[in-house]
């Protein structure tokens, strides 16, 4: 492999989590309507930000998190800065507890993700309620967060394999 190709590969590996985050946002903006809309689309970017904030913060710099969130704000049509702020706060919380999560069982990490998702829901609900001037019904948000928490183990394993075998190794 030539020098240039190797460099390109390294660049791609470094950018892979951020690109995955952007792909997650695009999934959120598609009319997927799982089971005729019975199940909301999970918020995969939150999983990605959470996972790489623990296991590879260098792969998920704050600027990437900000841009992922901003793109989501643009595509959902909500107030700008909302999802960007939520993801950044999530990253801050996760990184402050990073030493606790390191090397723990996945069950514990899953619980941690559930707590982060709950915190994110509270922020989203508070900000949107403040901005619209009424206490909004939180049912839809909680249901979507629940779907996100339920799929976490699946994506956690997949991202773990990706991180361990492709991004860090070789």
């Amino acid at each position: 492999m030539g020098y240039r190709a190797e460099n390109l590969l390294r660049l791609f590996k470094a950018a892979a989590p951020a690109l995955l985050g952007i792909f997650g946002v695009i999934i959120l903006a598609l009319p997927i309507r799982l089971f005729e809309g019975a199940i909301p689309t999970p918020i995969i970017p939150l999983v990605i930000v959470f996972f790489w904030s623990i296991y590879g913060p260098n792969y998920m710099p704050a600027l990437s998190v900000f841009l992922i969130g901003l793109l989501q704000d643009f595509l959902t049509g909500g107030p700008l800065g909302l999802w960007a702020g939520v993801y950044l706060v999530a990253q801050f919380v996760v990184m402050s507890q990073r030493s606790y999560f390191m090397g723990r069982e996945q069950k514990v990490v899953w619980l941690g993700f559930a707590l982060v998702a709950a915190g994110a829901s509270v922020i989203l609900w508070l900000v949107m309620s403040l901005m619209s001037g009424v206490l909004l019904p939180a049912g839809a948000l909680l249901f979507q967060m629940l779907a996100t928490v339920m799929i976490y183990p699946l994506f956690g394993v997949a991202f773990g394999e990706l991180h361990r075998r492709v991004l860090v190794e070789a």
């Binding site: 390294r10 695009i26 598609l30 009319p31 005729e36 260098n58 704050a62 643009f74 950044l88 949107m128």
Partner: protein
């Protein structure tokens, strides 16, 4: 998993994820939020929104085709299981619709006779623009869809969007080739409507739940509506045409009238954007009257 979290050499980007940048970007996000609170319609933000919709539309279009195909296939599979009940329901509905058709044919003749009168000025014809739903905000609070028609096809902000069942929402952002539709259930949605037969004009307000409600009415007197009455756009404000079907009255919730929408957002795929220009008052509405009658609608009857 034991390999994870041991921080082996991590390739590119080895320098630490700086706390300072994180706090700076959180501050930027909060500033953005506050500024969008006070200047949501600022041209910079609006331009940026429209630019992003435009840039994302090819990607969304690429994915939404296969998704629609997949949804169609799974829909067909589940249809096999209740084909008998559906058949029965459809036969019954067909019988009812035949009666309606007879009535409609009769009415058409009557209307044509009236339109033949000299004093009749037909309202202008709407110019429909057909588009596909290529994107949807899967967000608990922001309810909107992205459709693949934009400024190049004369789509403008404010225009009504309908599907085969009824009103879907209105256009809020228009890119060159894609636009955003604000759904009736969004917290920001406000659409002037009236209740047929109840003499109630009001504003339909979205609440992020499935059923929006009429929250402000023109009369201060207690409102009397019967569940099942039709709700249509009133055309007040001069943006949407009058008479687009919205839904039926479901019941009262305090002072609000709950509305059950005709449209089912889970199935909305092909929509029609209604490019409607209101007749200018006093600016020669009467002189231009004969033209639309000839160009659109059924020709004047012999009567």
């Amino acid at each position: 998993m034991e390999f994870l979290g041991q921080d082996r050499r991590e390739g590119l980007g080895r320098k630490a994820n700086s706390r300072f940048v994180l706090f700076l970007l959180i501050a930027v996000s909060v500033l953005l939020l506050l500024s969008s609170l006070y200047s949501a319609q600022a041209s910079v933000f609006k331009k940026a929104r429209e630019g992003v919709i435009d840039a994302a539309s090819p990607v969304l279009e690429l994915f939404s085709g296969p998704i629609a195909y997949f949804n169609d296939v799974t829909g067909t599979v589940s249809d096999y299981f209740n084909v008998l009940e559906q058949n029965k329901a459809l036969r019954q509905e067909n019988a009812e619709l035949r009666q309606w058709m007879e009535e409609a044919l009769e009415l058409r003749e009557t209307v044509a006779a009236y339109q033949g009168l000299q004093s009749y000025a037909a309202p202008p014809q709407a110019q429909p623009i057909d588009a596909y739903v290529i994107g949807e905000a899967n967000d608990a609070f922001a309810r909107s869809m992205i459709v693949n028609a934009g400024r190049t096809r004369n789509v403008e902000s404010g225009q009504a969007v309908v599907d085969e069942k009824g009103l879907v929402g209105r256009i809020v952002d228009t890119g060159a080739h894609a636009s955003r539709v604000l759904l009736l259930t969004d917290i920001q949605s406000r659409v002037p409507v009236y209740v047929e037969g109840a003499d109630v004009e009001g504003i339909l307000v979205g609440k992020t739940t499935d059923d929006p409600s009429i929250s402000f009415t023109a009369s201060s007197a207690p409102i009397e509506v019967i569940p099942g009455q039709r709700v249509l756009t009133s055309g007040a404000g001069g943006v949407m045409p009058r008479g687009l079907p919205v839904g039926v009255v479901e019941g009262m919730a305090g002072d609000d009238i709950l509305i059950n929408l005709y449209t089912n957002y889970v199935r909305t795929r092909l929509v029609r954007i209604i490019n409607y220009e209101f007749p200018a008052v006093g600016a020669g509405g009467a002189e231009e009257a004969p033209t639309p009658v000839e160009s659109g609608g059924p020709a004047p009857a012999e009567g």
